[in-house]
Symmetry: C2
Subunit: 247 residues, 2 copies
């Protein structure tokens, strides 16, 4: 979601303090480093916004596998174990009411910002995806169907598009699982190509939270789990979004 | 460019043979694993195509830094040490006349394919980039200006967009430097965020070629080299594009 950790911390001289101050937070509870619980974070993240479109909903471009897996997980949300995450055009909508941590300032003056994985708005041509999160077990599923604008080798998804999909899923889960805001590291091992228009299921798990870092992993595979497309891991830095003062 | 190595090789039972057969190619010359020289590969890759648009050319959205660095490297191409690589809408245009190696078949039936890093065609909104390659030294420079559709944290480039830009640059250079076609691994350490609309310079180097693998690295930084945005490394598998039989 935000990968400014080193930059921000170094600029303010807090970096070493961050990484060397486990005593301040001797045993980090995954979602309580800054006093927020996962429930609070999820409630805030998933609140209904009538004026903002949720792109993580089925459309006519979804392949049968994508649609039926979506229905399967939607069914699981009824038991309140899984939660479907909304996905807005911009992260500005997701973090409305909060300012970026540690004095990070926005320098762009363009007004049609789009979260990278929602950059193509023509249904089915770019990213089609939806993320389901299991707060209690700190794991998630991302259903990802790459369209023809995400091509690398002819007929298959660009490795960079999968890398971005992983990073995007990681960032949302790292935030909800423990206020992980900034990617420090992303490591991907590619195994097989994903055919355009087909479903890849990304299984994401928070491995551990230690010294204000969140360690998270992913296996991307076919729905029947017979084909592994890639494996990856990432490390996020925990930082708190600060509430904006009310006007 | 193409990350089908494991998939293709495993399917045809060639994978182990590939990785265990250094004796067939005991001391790989960077660009002669399959008899092609870098000059041949570059000449084929850079041949003028009048019916295909080259997107790696200046437009009104380029910031002054991007434009002047482009001019600086364009000047260097006159001495034939650096080469400006063309960038087409689809890799299909780049590999025209060649089929994918080892029976890799194209399964998509969509007809508006776009190379992922050329997915957004509105000038300045998405990816603006150009790659210069130095064949003799097996190094390259990618000038990258992320637009507002590549946003992650408000005002800054999504880490996934930088990951994809690195992967795309790596793939082109791995191919030209030694027919590296398939990414096996991509590892990125993020340091600071790239402001939207600004220039990031990716310095790419082929580190070594060994056992049919190409090891390649990248440092992404500001033009004045005072700000390092990220460092990365990747490993590509050498595979040969096969010429299509003439009709």
């Amino acid at each position: 979601m935000m990968r400014r950790g080193f930059q921000v911390a170094a600029r303010l001289g807090h970096h070493r303090a961050f990484l060397r101050a486990p005593r301040l937070l001797p045993r980090l509870n995954p979602a309580s480093a800054f006093g927020s619980t996962t429930d609070t974070l999820v409630a805030r993240f998933c609140q209904e916004k009538k004026d903002v479109k949720d792109f993580a909903l089925p459309n006519a471009s979804w392949c049968p596998d994508m649609l039926s897996t979506y229905q399967e997980f939607l069914e699981k949300t009824k038991a309140s174990t899984w939660i479907k995450l909304p996905s807005f055009k911009s992260n500005r909508d997701h973090i409305q009411g909060f300012k970026l941590p540690l004095g990070l300032t926005v320098t762009s003056d363009k007004n049609d910002w789009r979260n990278f994985t929602r950059c193509i708005q023509v249904e089915g041509q770019g990213y089609e995806y939806v993320i389901f999160f299991h707060p209690a077990e700190k794991k998630a599923i991302c259903l990802f169907q790459p369209g023809p604008y995400l091509e690398g080798p002819p007929g298959f998804a660009h490795g960079g598009s999968l890398a971005a999909m992983m990073d995007e899923t990681f960032s949302k889960i790292a935030y909800l699982a423990g206020e992980g805001l900034f990617t420090l590291n992303l490591n991907i091992k590619f195994k097989k190509l994903i055919p355009l228009g087909s479903l890849a299921v990304l299984n994401v798990e928070v491995e551990k939270i230690e010294d204000q870092k969140i360690y998270i992993s992913c296996v991307a595979q076919s729905r029947d789990e017979q084909t592994v497309y890639a494996k990856s891991s990432a490390v996020f830095l925990q930082l708190k979004l600060e509430e904006e003062p009310s006007q």
